[in-house]
Amino acid sequence: MSENVYIIGAGIHPFGRTDGRSGREQGVYAVREALKDAGLDWRDIECAYGGSAAAGNADIMVNELGLTSLPFTNVANGCATGGSALAASQQAIASGMYDLALAVGFDKHPRGAFNAKPADYGLPEWYGQTGMMLTTQFFALKIQRYMQLHGITRTALGRVAEKAFRNGTLAPHAWRRSPVDLETILNAPMINDPLTKYMFCSPAEGAVALILASEKKMKELGADGVKIRSIAVKTRPPNSFEVFQAGVSIEEGGKPTVLASQAAFEKAGVGPEDIGVAQLQDTESGAEIMHMAENGFCKDGEQEEWLANGWSEIGGRLPVNTDGGCLACGEPVGASGLRQVYENVEQLRGRAGERQVPGKPRFGYSHVYGAPGLSAVAILERE
């Protein structure tokens, strides 16, 4: 029987652009915030997992935090860096080996779309040379087909972005904190049809740190913990359609998000109807729409009605991306997945201020998706 694991401290460095502060320094800031939140000292932390995609190794944070000789494992898992760090910390405690662990993710990306190297993804050079290796194209291609098959409109895409910017105005850690109206979103320059400028998130900067504890330790400290009911990380199954694929199977395959979602629900022993707040990967507007269905919260095509009726707004049937998600916060790859968990911790503790979901949600759900086709889901519970 593995140990119950709780998140007892959560810290964030505001997302966006912070000139003069490195990604790792933002990570150190987030760790100190998380320690303060948990009422702990750095010396108390027994093991740590963390990383970034473009801002260096996490383990040398000990230079600033203190040379306590703790084991510090660097995680380099692309978009799942934060999710993998969280999973590793959870396992460290669930195994009974440790009572206090840190998961940290941070990043600092240059402006503009991500540029990936074909060789890093096992792809031929021509794929990059001819301008086909862009994550933004994949998202546009996936939602374009989805819209045709399931009757999703461009207005629905606009509503997702409008909600994100509205929620972002209520989140102190968000980057974009001004509302943008639907018409402006729909009429903005087209990046990759059907997605306009305001429907995409931007690479950004930021950091998140979470402190995990065993049940025994949490009680001993009298800490305010949120239980990790389940974590599932899944890579792509055969015949799936993912980012950076020059060729796709004609057989319709599975989806890593569906697999991760089902595994997380099964492990947690709850279903989509039990979730009170959800953070779903919204790299762009279409991703949030498709991920609502892939995570089991609605059927394909029902998102149109959801968005028209405001069911995914704060105060709606299932609030989605309550801090504005990636659209309002930007995407520092190493930190983004942990930001979703941070937001759920704040929501479940009832500390989300102006963006607090009413009715004391009991279960929080977070989902991250990234290249080359992997998803991580975490379900948290306020006991």
Partner: protein, 141 residues
């Protein structure tokens, strides 16, 4: 005609074919695998005809390693030429990602008949694309 962007990407001749691979299982893949992954995979000439599976436009200048117009020394976003791209389902084979040429964004629709072609890419190289069949046929006529 410029140089091929990749010497093995399509077959030579009057009727060029995009080159895929046939796995021992019979599954057709694109592109043809290289290195150890190519073991047991037979080069396979893909169909020149397919149907549009999805599409989008590229409205901004991609960063490196893009080598098209706008990427050269002294060039920038004003030199970029927006283009269309999509996935084309080759019946019974595989769905390939490709540039779409000789079409307007508003004309594209699911299941549209498309045909393989070779197009100039930059000042030195050609690349492959698919174009609407009806237009290709009317041009040939």
């Amino acid at each position: 005609m410029g140089q091929k962007i990749d010497p093995n990407l399509w077959s030579d001749g009057a009727q060029p074919h995009l080159m895929g691979g046939k796995l021992p299982s019979g599954e057709i893949v694109f592109p043809m695998p290289v290195g150890d992954a190519a073991e047991g995979v037979e080069p396979y000439k893909l169909s020149r005809r397919g149907k549009l599976w999805s599409w989008t436009s590229q409205g901004f200048l991609p960063k490196e390693p893009y080598e098209g117009p706008g990427s050269g020394p002294g060039e920038g976003p004003p030199d970029f030429q927006p283009f269309l791209l999509g996935y084309v389902e080759l019946p019974g084979e595989v769905i390939v990602e490709s540039r779409i040429v000789d079409a307007r964004l508003e004309d594209l629709h699911l299941g549209m008949d498309l045909e393989f072609c070779i197009v100039p890419f930059n000042t030195t190289h050609d690349t492959f694309a698919f174009r609407p069949v009806s237009q290709a046929e009317s041009k040939a006529a």
